[in-house]
Amino acid sequence: MSVEMTAPETAPRLATAKDYFDLLKPRIMGLVVFTAFAGLVAAVGITGQGINPLLAAVSILAVALGSGAAGALNMWYDADIDAVMSRTSTRPIPSGAVPRDEALALGLIMSGVSVLLMWIASNVLAAGLLALSIAYYGWFYTIVLKRRTAQNIVIGGAAGAFPPVIGWAAVTGSTPLDAWILFAIIFIWTPPHFWALSLVAHKEYKKAGVPMLPVTNGAKATRNQILLYTLLLAPVGLWPVATGLAGILYGVTTTVLTVGFIYYAIKLWRSEAGGPEAGAEERKLAMSMFGFSILYLFGLFAALIIEHGFGLYFPLGGF
């Protein structure tokens, strides 16, 4: 799909520290750091292996820097489409605050620094996984997938799923099944999370020529896919209880949040959200689903941290 794009003319303005901080996509960074920390805490709790608190803090800092680097690389490459979409037109590059080259330089330097810090603070496996996740988001998702396929979010979702595996590897130097279960939760969670937002912003994506699912397959197909992935997420979310990775607190939290997530998905599925008939009500519903999906992931990983970090781990199963 190719669309003629005309970026709005913006005169340059003085960059502030906030502009450079925004370049790192701080909200995504927050979730990435949180899930990496959960992976780290769960690894300590399950394996009994310890990690020096300062080394753990540096490892988490490295994950944060890596996430920021990938965000800067994404903004560097996507500056043209960001300028076209009103939601992203105020970002540092399209608003004229930060030159594209600076974003690229910042992204590349931070990538190197983050991987180096991770290697020094933990081990080569965690550093390698961090490098892989930066490349996956900054290059594979941003440059290869995003403008080519409607499955960009599904395949690209793996980039955001790496942090708990990296956190686990930082402690143990290995990535057992438990770590990959946490990966699977985020991987399956990403499509319904992002497609809920894209149901609201589909016109913008169309204008920018980005083949998001609502643009290529329509709103109904997107709502079907959201419901499908949400139903698939239900057993995957509870998988840690079966393996013994998580206990009662996690099980109860996940069950409640899963019911809520499915409720929103069904409500959205039955609505006209993203379609030509959609109004403010549907828009609000899609945004509620998007907001709840963040709460869902936060709740799951918070329960995992509380269980393993505060001695409240009472396993139900385990094989």
């Binding site: 709005p8 913006t10 005169a11 340059p12 303005r13 003085l14 960059a15 520290a17 450079y20 020096n52 300062l54 080394l55 540096v58 800092l61 037109s89 105020t90 608003s95 004229g96 605050a97 620094v113 810090l117 290697w119 020094i120 603070a121 081990n123 080569v124």
Partner: protein, 94 residues
């Protein structure tokens, strides 16, 4: 939409200087973090293995070697105990 301003040379230089200060602090932070991390890793490292370093997987090897040495010592102790027992049972009563 974002506000747009005309940038004077003076304002540009001032902003550049401010950014340089931020960069300098970032570099200082990086040096401090690497220094602290290295200090902790050195404390955790057993250098009795010669020129091997922690990031070459030396600690794992060292742990394995320690376990092997302990197993060998236990084995030798057991053999010695067995030999002693045999000797005492073979000695004729006087």
């Amino acid at each position: 939409m974002s506000e747009s301003v005309q940038i004077s040379e003076e304002a540009r230089v001032k902003a550049q200087k401010r950014r340089n200060v931020w960069l300098a602090w970032a570099l200082v932070a990086f040096v401090v973090i690497v220094g602290l991390t290295t200090a902790i890793r050195i404390q955790e490292t057993d250098f009795s293995g010669g020129d091997r370093l922690y990031f070459s997987g030396y600690l794992d090897e060292a742990q394995k070697e320690d376990a092997d040495r302990e197993a060998q010592a236990r084995y030798e102790e057991m053999r010695a105990a067995e030999a002693e027992q045999t000797d005492s049972s073979e000695q004729p009563d006087e």
